[in-house]
């Protein structure tokens, strides 16, 4: 009713209103960037002060971080390697967030995806490598989907808070991983670091053409693009946004809220599960404690920094992947503990959320274009 009314007024406006609208859209785009970028700068400044307290020059540290993240071809590839799982775990928080759910269990879905992939890979024996890869990806995504889907189902069917349940499920996943690599799935030759059987060198994921970076990067980018189309360009995503905006209105308009939530959570978990599969199939070759590397937790920050937009997750993952990649260099060059990266990420997260209060209050759209 109201939608048709506004359409009617739009048609009676001046012909140049189309270009005006387009211009206003461009301004709005920069408006939405302004606050997160300002938050980024503020947190870098705060971390700079922190670094100064440790007796190091903030400028030197940042220069070194840039070098370690983007400065050379080698370091940039290292950044890409870390960005790949972050894109997928970022989706794990971002997709449910569109429906108003705060899921923070990406770490558990990643671990379960990795375990499932590492279990099915060697079990297939002499199957051709593409079949093994496909099976590993399918199993990894299914395991992740089960994990986060469970949190979503508990939310809509039993009213269990998904934030807490998804994190509890992460701890359960890590305990399961430890149980499986110490017992049923243990490779007897892995003494120092209990692991599953290696999937075999011929089954390892190939490199992205032109890069010394595995195909996981392509998986991550494609997943973000697909999720963007799904959430922003389809009826499914539209329904999800209504649920996120107002659950009661969504129910009244006949949307299957429960189904939407559970399917979205399954997709989110599948993304993180794929990240686990990639870590196994491209990096470690087996499932072990190395899977618990914090990609799930960093993914939460990725999603919030990207304002839960799947497209924005790609550049944000590069940024946070770069920060992560420079951690080792900070340790070697300045003697800063490896947790320095965690401090920077935590600061960034806190400042970003504090900046939410300014979101939409910074006006760049000129009045002539309909800004206030």
């Amino acid at each position: 009713m109201s939608a048709s009314a506004s359409l009617g007024t739009a048609q009676t406006e001046q012909p140049d209103s189309v270009s005006k609208l387009a211009l206003a859209r461009v301004f709005r785009f920069f408006e939405s960037l302004a606050v997160p970028l300002a938050a980024l700068l503020v947190s870098f400044a705060l971390f700079g002060v922190f670094v100064a307290f440790t007796g190091n020059s903030p400028l030197d540290v940042y220069a070194e971080m840039y070098r370690g993240a983007f400065g050379t071809w080698f370091s940039f590839q290292n950044t890409l390697l870390r960005a790949a799982p972050l894109m997928l775990t970022g989706l794990c928080t971002a997709l449910p967030a569109r429906l108003g759910l705060i899921v923070i269990g990406g770490e558990g879905a990643l671990v379960m995806g990795g375990v499932a992939a590492a279990a099915i890979g060697p079990a297939l024996g002499g199957a051709p490598p593409p079949v093994v890869t496909l099976a590993m990806a399918t199993f990894g995504m299914a395991a992740g989907a089960l994990w986060i889907g469970a949190a979503g189902a508990l939310r809509v069917l039993r009213g269990v808070n998904e934030t807490i349940s998804s994190l509890l499920l992460s701890y359960i996943a890590i305990a399961l991983l430890n149980h499986l690599v110490e017992g049923p799935l243990k490779d007897p030759t892995s003494l120092n670091k209990p692991s599953t059987v290696h999937i075999g060198d011929h089954n390892m994921l190939a490199n992205t053409p032109g890069f010394d970076v595995h195909l996981g990067l392509v998986f991550g980018i494609v997943a973000c693009l697909v999720c963007y189309v799904l959430m922003d360009r389809t009826t499914f995503g539209f329904g999800g946004r209504i649920v996120g905006g107002n659950v009661r209105a969504a129910r009244l308009s006949g949307l299957g809220v429960k189904k939407l939530v559970i399917i979205t959570c399954c997709l989110a978990g599948a993304a993180a599960g794929l990240a686990g599969m990639v870590e196994v199939a491209a990096v470690h070759g087996r499932a072990n404690a190395s899977l618990v590397a914090g990609y799930g937790y960093s993914g939460i920050l990725v999603a919030f920094l990207a304002r839960q937009n799947p497209l924005a997750i790609i550049p944000v993952s590069l940024l946070l992947g770069g920060i992560g990649a420079s951690g080792g260099l900070l340790q070697r060059a300045f003697g800063l503990p490896d947790a320095a990266v965690a401090v920077l990420q935590g600061t960034l997260f806190v400042v970003l959320l504090a900046s939410e209060t300014y979101q939409g209050r910074i006006r760049l759209v000129p009045r002539a274009l309909g800004g206030s």
Binding site: N161, L168, N178, G183, I300, A342, G346
Partner: protein, 311 residues
């Protein structure tokens, strides 16, 4: 030597170890959940108490090491906890800032900062908190070690009923509840809602910090990065299970402590298969309890109405 003693009391070693574990392991749960209970009574959720717990453990250990007094460590831990609580309370007082998201951010921030600052504290050993040997009557080392009770546990034991009484009968308890049940009504009565919530989060943070100092200063009794594995977060879930009642928080903490002690207790009598699965017991129990105590259609009647944790 220990093996001989274990066989002398046989299978009874398991419930005894679970009891001992319930008392030892429950203490951090107890302090964090009492703190979170106060915060949630004001209508706000602080998910960041996991970070507060770890920061409390690190700073408590550090101060105890530097000053030689474990109690000064506890004091420092509560001060750091109060500071982190104030940060949470302040940020959430700003318009359009989500308390759950800020909690997650502070959790990651607190853990990262504690690991950073705590790097030099992994090696040295700090003075630990004293304990009272309630097992003096027994010759069995199991009984003695199970009844080696820390003073902080006794403090928590007294604090729980005291808090329940204060919430029901004191002026500040009433104000806290009014703010948590209806911000509008509290505003109409002339109370500063944000101020009350800030204070409630500060007190909650201070208690969580004390819980953290117990981890590093008594049990396990050293500082390392694997010290806490979600106790702070489980305690938040536990408050929901305890239906926002301090005394029920005490019972729930004991239950969780016992569940956490199950794996090591079974291992001590030779049941080693599935040891790692038993490590999942407290998390699975928390989840199960949340499933049983939640409802898809209506919020618990005991829940503060302003709370966003189960919208």
């Amino acid at each position: 030597m220990e093996g001989v003693d274990a066989s002398s009391i046989g299978i009874w070693g398991v419930p005894l170890a679970v009891l001992g574990g319930a008392i030892r392991i429950s203490t951090p749960f107890l302090f964090v959940s009492l703190g979170e209970c106060i915060t949630e009574k004001s209508g706000r959720v602080n998910l960041g108490l996991e970070g507060t717990l770890v920061m409390g453990a690190m700073s408590g250990y550090g101060v105890s090491y530097l000053t030689g007094s474990a109690w000064l460590g506890v004091l420092a831990a509560s001060a750091i906890g109060a500071l982190l609580g104030a940060l949470h309370g302040f940020l959430c007082g700003r318009p359009r800032v989500n308390d759950i998201a800020v909690g997650i951010a502070l959790m990651l921030f607190g853990i990262g900062l504690a690991f950073f600052l705590g790097k030099p504290l992994i090696q040295p050993s700090a003075p630990r908190l004293p304990s009272i040997p309630f097992g003096f009557f027994s010759d069995s080392p199991q009984v003695r070690s199970a009844l080696e009770v820390n003073v902080l546990f006794l403090v928590g034991l007294a604090l729980a009923p005291a808090l329940r009484w204060a919430l029901a009968n004191t002026r500040s308890g009433m104000v806290l509840r009014v703010v948590g049940e209806g911000a509008e009504a509290a505003r109409a009565m002339g109370y500063d809602v944000l101020q009350v919530r800030l204070l409630a989060t500060v007190v909650g943070g201070a208690l969580a910090g004390i819980g953290g100092s117990f981890l590093s200063l008594f049990y396990p009794g050293s500082w390392n990065e694997g010290l806490s594995s979600g106790q702070g977060l489980m305690a938040v879930a536990l408050v929901i299970f305890a239906r926002w009642d301090p005394v029920r928080c005490l019972y729930a903490s004991l239950l969780f402590g016992g569940a956490s002690a199950l794996g090591p207790a079974l291992q001590s009598v030779g049941v080693t298969s599935g040891y790692y699965l038993f490590n999942a017991a407290p998390y699975a129990l928390t989840l199960l309890i949340m499933v049983l105590s939640s409802s898809a259609t209506e919020a618990s009647a005991d829940m503060p109405a302003e709370l966003s944790v189960s919208r």
